[in-house]
Amino acid sequence: MQNFIFLYYGFLAILTQLVVFRELSVLFYGSELFLGTFLSSWLFWVGSGSLLVRRLLKKERPAAAYFFYGFLAISLLFPAMILLIRASKSAFAFGEFIGPLATVFYTFSVMSVLCFVIGGQFSLACAVVSDKIKIETALGRVYLYEAQGAVIGGVIFTYILIGSVPTFIIALVASLGCIFVSLGLQAEGAPLKKISYRSILLILAALAILFVNFRAEPAINRMEWKRYQFIQQKETRNATLSLVNMGSIKNVFVDGMLSASFPAPESYEPVAHWPLLAAADPGQILIIGDASLGVLKEALKHSPKRIDYVVLDNAFVDLVEPYLERDDIAALKDPAMHIHYADSRAFVRNNKNKYDAVIMNIQEVPNLKTNRFYTQEFYSQISRILKPNGILGLSVVSSENYLSRQTRIFNASVYATLKSVFKAAEVIPGDSLMFLASLSKIDMQKETILGRFNNRRISNHYFIPSYIEYKLQAMRRAELKKILEDTPGVEINRDFRPTTCYYFANFWLNKFASPLGYLVAAILFMVIALSLFKKRRLLLSLSQRKESILIFVLGFISILLELILLLGYQIISGYVYWQMGILFASFMLGLFLGALLGNQSKNNYRRKHSIFLVILSLMIIGLSVCTAHLLPHLIYLPIISNMVIFITLLVLIGVIVGSAFVIAGFLIRADSVMEKAGSLYAADLWGAALGAIISTNFIAPLFGILGALNFSAVIGSAGLAIFLILSGETNL
């Protein structure tokens, strides 16, 4: 029974993490900053809970009682947190991007209580199990079952629940599970007051009512989108899609980010017509980008023979199709239209057709995930499917009247990357900067473009002859090109060196730069520095915490490697949901296997445990360096081979970290099992928290993917060196 409860604890922990991540993604657009902030706040608070719980609870009461109350608390906090997140959407300024400071403060605040309780449950679980088995092995046992539960939970959520069951219902069911677990604990003899028994029944009844009444879900959605006329929300595997009305305009938000509006000819007419008018005879067209339905209609005005339209999945089209105008529906059903549900890069790589025009309409901003659509490697793949005078068209955010330093560098990096592949690249200024690239010269003479416009008898709202003439002013375009070409220090964007997304992050952060932000950051640094200074006596006793330090470093490296490898897989093989799920589960499986292996060595003596830790650290350092050399060569391998290699790498990392954690548990000296479990778990999670926030926001963008892997090897070496120094000669 106890083992099942620990299993459920692991299952619950991963489930809450994934559900809360999905909910918060809608608030913060799934950006890199948010991803790192979310992971780090989760890990930080869970670690804090595991470390501090023993100080907050009364020692007279048994741990089992608090363990029981913990599950009750989670049963209430989990659905309450989802409601809070959805309701708080309206607390932020309507339609306003949320700045980095607000993102960090909000995420850390809203996740604090639930995560703290979840973390505390780990230490309490170790205390509960230590009543029956040796203290040294208690930690390993709980970790083993927790990892197992996490694997199961991750797989079930990824492959069964998401996209089929609304997240709020998942939360309710998980809460019910907590209630039943509490009852199971009660049956095992956890001390229980009578009043709590009635409370349990009340909670159960309330949850059951909410559970049965499925109308709670749409009501919650309406509350979330109260400033719009809410139509529908769909949770797909890849994102949360929300369709809302504002007046006569329908708007689609993908993970909370405005992705498309209908009708909005001002946004999709230029995207379609610039590349198609630059092409002499656009008979074969490829259109990439989920939110491109308006572009399809415009492309058909050029009477092409064939349009290939590539989207990741059919969720977007299915959501908006019932609300489209007749023209847009007709465009989808046109005989020339061929819709392909696939990862765009994989489609381009495997495509044998040759196109007159390729239109990229990626609505997402360049972040680490979408950077692969702006790289030299991708443009090279595009160039192979373009006819000799074919045109590639793409647009990025810019500024009509003046390019700030950050905007200039960002735009220049896209331009430089295009120029590194294509012979000719032209620019059309505007709030969205339009790039046109070709393997041969592009004729952008006003007369040519207007001639084609008239010959093809195109009728538009915005993209009309006077607009074309205004935008094609030679002086303005020449000036803009010169600015982009003369921008110093711009690096070409590569798959493993994502400079464009780094420049874009700077551009985006520039919107929020303010003296107040700097002041707050400076105060935070001072507080951290002072805390460290005040704790200098404690730091002198580092020798007693050397295992925790090593686990901290391994936690840092493991999350960095996991995130980098997931990213690397996307770059190499494309984004396919079920494959990403398998990779994520592989890491969790590795943790489980590692914990299993680690438990096998429980009877060894201390010196041998220390040697194992050193070996494991060396293994992960070596793995980082080897992966850095291996990754670029994987581009040439088939997808199945890549899959196997990545799974193996992630399992290996999980095994190393899982077994290191358990072995460190045998070594660490502590007065109580809760102190031992708490400090080690906190070290692991805090290390991972730090790794999460800086790997995607600083290390990968600054050093590149391969540089990040080498960086992790350096950090691992430093951690190992500190461990060896602190161990001294006596331990080894």
Binding site: R408, H461, I464, S466, A529, L540
Partner: protein, 381 residues
């Protein structure tokens, strides 16, 4: 040796940490604190007008903020600074954006339709609108700005406008109030050379500076961002009453004033507020005041807000016309009938516009060709 290493390790870690902190601060220094200690090139700053000396610093009297500036600090506009006890402008002669635009882009509809206007701006603004369409210019610090190739003296600006066949010069994009001295010098010279001047501003300026400026201006375009004091405070960063005072002042001075209202969904699109605004304009500025309802498109910090629905603009226009305003336009919606100018007497279309293009012009000698009604504006050069 191991023991010594253990002893010094915490100190070593603290030192590394401090070095990292200093490194980060050095790389990402706050713009208005550390960088204001960095000396600005002496040739790029000039004495500014509208200063009042105080024993502890200098007070700028240009706009209603009346920033008090101790030595080395700047006003809220970022471009006026106390240097050695005197108020200086940091952007004189340093435009960052210089373009030739169609006059309809400003949007100015009652002056020389279809003509080209020489447009320029420096960085800086005394407001903080979260939907600013030119935020990269308005919210930029002068030391971060890349000037448009070179220093442009007022003489060079006027010569360039003439050389490019422009009938007029627009001070636009950011907030021309904050580069007041530069505007004044150019406008004075342009007037002498027969060019017209257009000021496109938020109207956040004190009375005296405005009175000194307006004799050189043919059209002043004021962005009345809303008609709600709380909206002005929270979203714009200013006070509505000062903008209304500036509008009244312009009317009393007889300057041709056009008013534009950027309609932002959920922020300033309340029809009751729009009704009150239209009534105020009618009563205080007169029914012949051209009024624009411009369509918002996602920008700056409001990049996640959809564009204004066209029916919202149409409703606002209807309200304005019912309030008695005669020339009410819808901006940023090419091809909409609201772009056109209609005769308030006979109702015929006087100027047919499509975007920035003039398709038809039925105003001759400042009058409707159909019924002879005098139409306010500058129709011939």
């Amino acid at each position: 040796m191991m023991k010594k290493a253990r002893l010094y390790l915490p100190i070593f870690l603290n030192i590394i940490f401090c070095i990292i902190v200093v490194f980060i601060i050095a790389l990402y220094s706050p713009p208005q604190t550390v960088s204001s200690i960095i000396s600005i090139d002496g040739t790029r700053i000039r004495q500014a007008d509208w200063e009042k000396q105080d024993c502890l610093g200098v007070q700028c009297e240009l706009c209603p903020f009346r920033c008090f500036l101790p030595e080395g600090s700047r006003g809220i506009c970022r471009v006026r600074m106390n240097v050695a006890g005197r108020l200086r402008t940091l952007v004189y002669g340093q435009p960052v954006s210089v373009h030739i635009d169609p006059i309809e882009k400003k949007p100015v509809y009652h002056m020389l339709p279809g003509s080209r206007i020489f447009s320029l701006a420096t960085v800086g603004c005394n407001l903080r609108c979260s939907f600013c369409q030119n935020w990269e210019i308005s919210q930029c610090n002068p030391e971060e700005a890349k000037t448009a190739g070179q220093i442009l003296t007022p003489e060079q600006v006027v010569d360039a406008a003439i050389a490019n066949n422009c009938n007029s010069i627009a001070y636009t994009y950011s907030e021309p109030i904050v580069f007041y001295e530069y505007v004044l010098d150019i406008a004075r010279l342009a007037k002498q050379k027969g060019l017209r001047n257009v000021l496109v501003s938020a109207g956040y300026i004190n009375r005296e500076p405005l009175r000194k400026l307006t004799p050189y201006f043919d059209v002043v375009k004021i962005d009345l961002k809303g008609f709600n004091a709380q909206f002005y405070r929270k979203v714009v960063g200013g006070e509505l009453k000062y903008v209304l005072a500036a509008l009244k002042e312009l009317h009393s001075l007889g300057v041709l004033t056009e008013v534009v209202n950027l309609v932002v969904p959920s922020l300033n699109d309340d029809m009751q507020e729009i009704t009150r605004m239209c009534k105020w304009i009618h009563d205080n500025l007169g029914p012949d005041t051209p009024l624009f309802f411009s369509r918002f498109t996602p920008q700056y910090r409001l990049g996640n807000l959809p564009a204004t629905p066209i029916e919202t603009l149409e409703k606002a226009r209807k309200i304005a016309m019912e309030a008695g305003l005669r020339y009410v336009y819808i901006g940023n919606v090419p091809g909409h009938p609201g772009e056109n100018t209609y005769c308030p007497d006979c109702g015929r279309m006087l100027i047919h516009r499509y975007g920035y293009t003039i398709l038809e012009n039925n105003i001759k000698n400042g009058k409707c060709v159909f019924c002879g009604k005098k139409i306010p504006g500058i129709w011939e050069n």
